[in-house]
């Protein structure tokens, strides 16, 4: 496992078992320090390198480069031994906080030089941070959407609720949250991260997956819904609807089979529909939307979940493995600043992994709201500016498509 190197008794040169003079340490028990370093429980006090060389790690406190660093048990951030020794505030009654995540009872362990696995894990960790940000943003959007819906319920008479507006405010809010809640300790890295990745990662994969899930479920939906539709609804009520919905449908039906090229058709169909639909559609709109949305929701979100799960396998394994790593290392190299009970530490590691799992589970939720958003946004604008809007448009059209299929029997019955 990841600690092989740490466990193997490295022969540490005598001169690296004491501080190299980076700081003027007070209250350091040199004998104890030496023992811990020889036992591979703390990283050797290598002299820090000014420049980054291949395979060196930067200590985030002194900004010097080392062959290996200690890791905090709470957040796995690296720290060189000499900086770690500085973290203990002498004569303080307060338990020392982790300088990176502020967890109490800061403690580190040493696992030797980072293995490939660990480097991989770190990347996955980064990936998870990005995903968490996406979830946060989605949650924000969802909340906003719910608020809008409530507002809409209150004033249900006015259907045109300026979709552009909804978009803007929610997105802006999401942005703010993302930036303001960013944990400070990793700023130096995360700022870079944000610039490189945040924007790119917002939609891409996950949304495309969701899209696909929706396409699939709509196709399925369309097929399945026919009988129920026929049974539960008196057909005469839909006669008018069929008349102005069906003309618009043929191109759309095709588009659903080739999702990639469907946008143009989608827009065309929507435009057509809006024209033909005209005034009479107001009450029929209400009907169809409730009809489509309610059964659609659960189906979509289920589908979304499946797909997200499929997409996450690497994430899942990552959720398990760090904990495993922790377990393996429990009695390995630990030197707590405040020698606290094991229980507390186990508690924290458990908590964090739980949280991660929870988060993983939650990631299915936003899909539902996405769809919701799709419904509401589409009504007003035909010209999509962003990828997001385009997706929403496409979704709306595919819904209309499903609707068309369901209404086909109505036509033949006529």
């Amino acid at each position: 496992m990841g600690n092989k190197l740490g466990r193997r008794r490295q022969v540490v040169d005598e001169k690296f078992t004491r501080p190299q003079g980076l700081y003027q340490h007070k209250d350091v028990d040199h004998k104890k320090l030496k023992k811990l370093i020889l036992d591979s429980k703390l990283a050797p006090c290598f002299p820090g390198d000014e420049d980054c060389a291949f395979d060196l790690e930067e200590c985030p406190i002194c900004f010097l480069y080392y062959p290996s660093l200690n890791r905090s048990r709470c957040c796995m951030k690296g720290i060189c031994t000499e900086c770690f020794l500085q973290m203990k505030t002498p004569n303080s009654t307060r338990p020392t906080q982790c300088p990176f995540c502020k967890t109490l009872n800061y403690a580190v362990e040493y696992r030797g030089v980072k293995t490939k696995e660990e480097k991989g894990k770190e990347q996955i960790e980064e990936q998870r941070v990005i995903e968490a940000k996406i979830r946060m943003r989605r949650q924000e959007l969802q909340d906003e959407e719910e608020r809008m819906q409530r507002r809409q319920e209150i004033s249900s008479s006015s259907r045109n609720m300026a979709p552009g507006e909804v978009e803007d405010t929610t997105v802006a809010e999401g942005d703010e949250i993302v930036s303001s809640q960013e944990p400070f300790p990793s700023r130096r890295q995360s700022v870079r991260l944000r610039q490189n990745r945040d924007d790119d990662f917002d939609l891409d994969l996950e949304d495309i997956m969701v899209m696909e899930a929706i396409w699939l479920s709509i196709q399925e939906n369309g097929r399945q819904r026919n009988p129920t539709y026929g049974d539960s609804v008196p057909s005469e009520q839909y006669l008018t609807e069929d008349q102005h919905v069906s003309p618009a449908m043929p191109p759309v039906a095709e588009s659903s089979s080739s999702p990639s090229g469907g946008l143009a058709c989608a827009i065309a169909a929507l435009a057509e529909r809006q024209q033909t639909g005209g005034g009479s559609s107001s009450n029929h709109d209400g009907n169809t939307s409730t009809f489509n949305m309610i059964p659609g929701y659960s189906r979509f979100s289920n589908r979304g979940e499946q797909v997200t799960e499929m997409y996450h396998p690497s994430g899942n394994s990552a959720e398990d493995s760090p904990e495993l790593g922790l377990e393996m290392n429990r009695d390995d190299g630990e030197w707590g600043v405040d020698h606290e009970s094991e229980a507390a530490e186990v508690g924290t590691s458990r908590a964090s992994s739980d949280a991660a799992e929870d988060a993983g589970r939650d990631s299915a939720l936003p899909t539902q709201h996405e769809i919701e958003g799709g419904f509401q946004t589409v009504g007003g604008s035909i010209v999509p500016d962003s990828f997001e809007e385009q997706m929403m448009l496409a979704m709306a059209v595919s819904l209309a498509d499903a609707q068309a299929r369901t209404s086909m029997p109505g036509l033949t019955w006529q």
């Binding site: 900004f63 300088p99 990176f100 303001s180 400070f184 700023r187 700022v191 870079r192």
Partner: protein, 161 residues
């Protein structure tokens, strides 16, 4: 300028010097948005221009931060103040002292000048009123003999702004 005297005029330790040099390089490569480091040959005192974020109460306003580094930076927090005239803000005193926990009790050596700047801009941006702290006059009077804000016993009560 007594009120802006650095908390410790001792020269920077080797490690502080090294870290600041690297922070400066990093800043030059990747400066925080809305900030500009004014070039001097004094590594121990940075003067940084802050531009109010667009869409906030401080949009189109420019202020100056003065950051003085103690001998044992980053183990010890830098002293960060606005060079008067300081922005009108419920947590910024007219002498430029800033009531912000990360500058005092909550400082961590894992923070950087850049992260401090982001926190300060975020504090400005989330303000809803342009006004001085309620105890501004009393506080400023107490600081008249050039006391550093790091010697103030701050109360951090407002986590909104």
């Amino acid at each position: 300028m007594t009120s802006t005297a650095a908390p410790s005029r001792k020269v920077l330790s080797k490690i502080a010097c090294n870290r600041l040099q690297k922070e400066l390089v990093e800043w030059q490569v990747n400066p925080p948005a809305g900030f500009k480091h004014k070039v001097t040959d004094n590594l121990q005192r940075w003067v940084i221009e802050v531009n109010g974020a667009p869409g906030t109460l401080y949009a189109n306003e420019m202020y100056q931060l003065q950051v003085d580094f103690p001998e044992h930076y980053p183990m010890e927090a830098p002293q960060v103040i606005f060079v008067p005239p300081a922005p009108l803000h419920p947590h910024i005193y007219s002498n430029g002292h800033i009531c912000l926990d990360i500058l005092y009790d909550s400082w961590s050596p894992a923070m950087t000048v850049s992260s401090i700047c982001i926190s300060i801009l975020s504090m400005l941006s989330s303000s809803t009123v342009k006004q001085r702290p309620a105890d501004n006059d009393r506080y400023v009077k107490n600081c008249r003999n050039g006391r550093s804000p790091k010697e103030t016993r701050w109360w951090f009560h407002d986590d909104k702004v």
